[in-house]
Amino acid sequence: MSDIPYRANSNLERVLVAGHFGVTAELGPPKSAEVEVIHKKAEHLRGKVDAVNLTDNQTAIVRISSIAAGKVLVDLGLEPVIQMTCRDRNRLAQQADLLGAYVLGIRNVTCLTGDHQVFGNHPTARHVFDLDSIQLIECVRRMRDDGVFLCGDPIQNSKKSPVVAPKLYIGAAENPFGDPFEFRAIRLAKKVNAGADYIQTQCIYDLERFERWMSQVCARGLHKRVKILAGLTPLRSFKMASYMATGVAGIQVPRELLGRMEAAKDGAEEGIRICVEQIQRLRQIEGVAGIHLMAIEWEQKVPEILERAGLLPRPVVPPAA
């Protein structure tokens, strides 16, 4: 038993606080009630990562909710990170869901703005954006550390009841490749000031630009206040690489990588090789505390990538008393 005063005492927090190079992976819940999809993907990740991110209606497509999927993982003995966007719920629903998630055994939450609904399967929906991601982070932090709701009321069932607050490890996303580039480090600082404990970045292909962003981050001393997990999405084929390069707002794929993917006989193997090289390089960059693997519908390759990158087995850090 350790006596470190953890904020949430999640496995992810313990691994990162102990100074290990952390590994999270993403699991996209299914677009139906077929729970077996979660079971199957979870088995690929079992014991291979420190925590598993469940996306929240990613790209504005309706799926099993991140919290319900997170509970499935808890029951399977894996540690979930639930993602929560600001697109679909107002501050009442968000706080109610945070209480509920905590009660179900969830200990990590990544707060996101959310993709615009035009990208998804309900483009005529009304969006919410009552809070933005930075305000949501602050809300979760105040719930955890101050025991109060956003309105200032204590988190207790009645005046005589104890304050029972959800103790969550708080994450945020950041896109080092979004514009305006000079504003990205400022925005990260705002998230850290709001209370983010860790950051999971958008997927990185352009390592040089990422390094420039990281040097701005380190210049502001932010790497000392927040654990930065660099996002990676292994490329499966040249077709996917070209799509990522042109079809996805805010993602840039350098020419050199496109060339390698085009020349490769076995695109999948080349994609994995590139991903492993990227991990090696990221480990050398000051301030990078780990990686966040988003192997889209390719979760079965996560163990191989981590094995080849020398990141297995995962460290075991005992929970606090």
């Binding site: 600001c86 697109r87 991601s133 809300c139 514009d179 705002k190 709001a194 707002a249």
Partner: protein, 217 residues
Amino acid sequence: MIVASQKPMDEVLGYLGGAQRVLVLGCGTCVAVCNAGGEREVATLAALLRLGGRQATEETLERQCDAEFFDPVRDQAAGCDAILSLACGVGVQMCARLFPDKPVYPALNTQFMGINEGAGAWSEACLGCGDCKLGLFGGVCPVTQCSKSLCNGPCGGSTEGMCEVDTKTIECGWQRIYDRLQRIGRLDLLETNVAPRDWSKTHDGRPRKITRPDLAG
């Protein structure tokens, strides 16, 4: 000003149904300036109704959002089967309030409060949020110019000045806020975390009213 556009004729005819005598009522202010509901548009619409075999009377008021301008058309209103208003939604409602026994139908879709961008182009600029924060954002409104109404900086989808919603046609409002604050040397304004909005000042609170005792006669 308030910017509107004309409804499809089929929809308008659907509302009118069997009404024979129609008062086609334009508005001479915002919707006249954006060529949707002024005198000229009234004339065209009335002519179309006549071609369809109806009797159409044409009138265009100075403003339909003020009761005092309606006096000249009270007789025509009394003598028609239906009023077709080419005002914005505000004018249509005033019309319906003043003639409680008459069917009143809209001929326009009221779009937004916006800016004239040159010949034949307008863009949304204000949502009437009741708590104007332009002073913090260099005179660029995050509520309307950002597709997600974000107040703490751009989302991850901002690319080369364009918004993720459509990188070909929609500018990222946050890029504009950034550029503007940079020009006036106030980037420091972006370092502070902006607190959650008080939406009770918008329509989320209730239908809003303003009373000014100093002006009440």
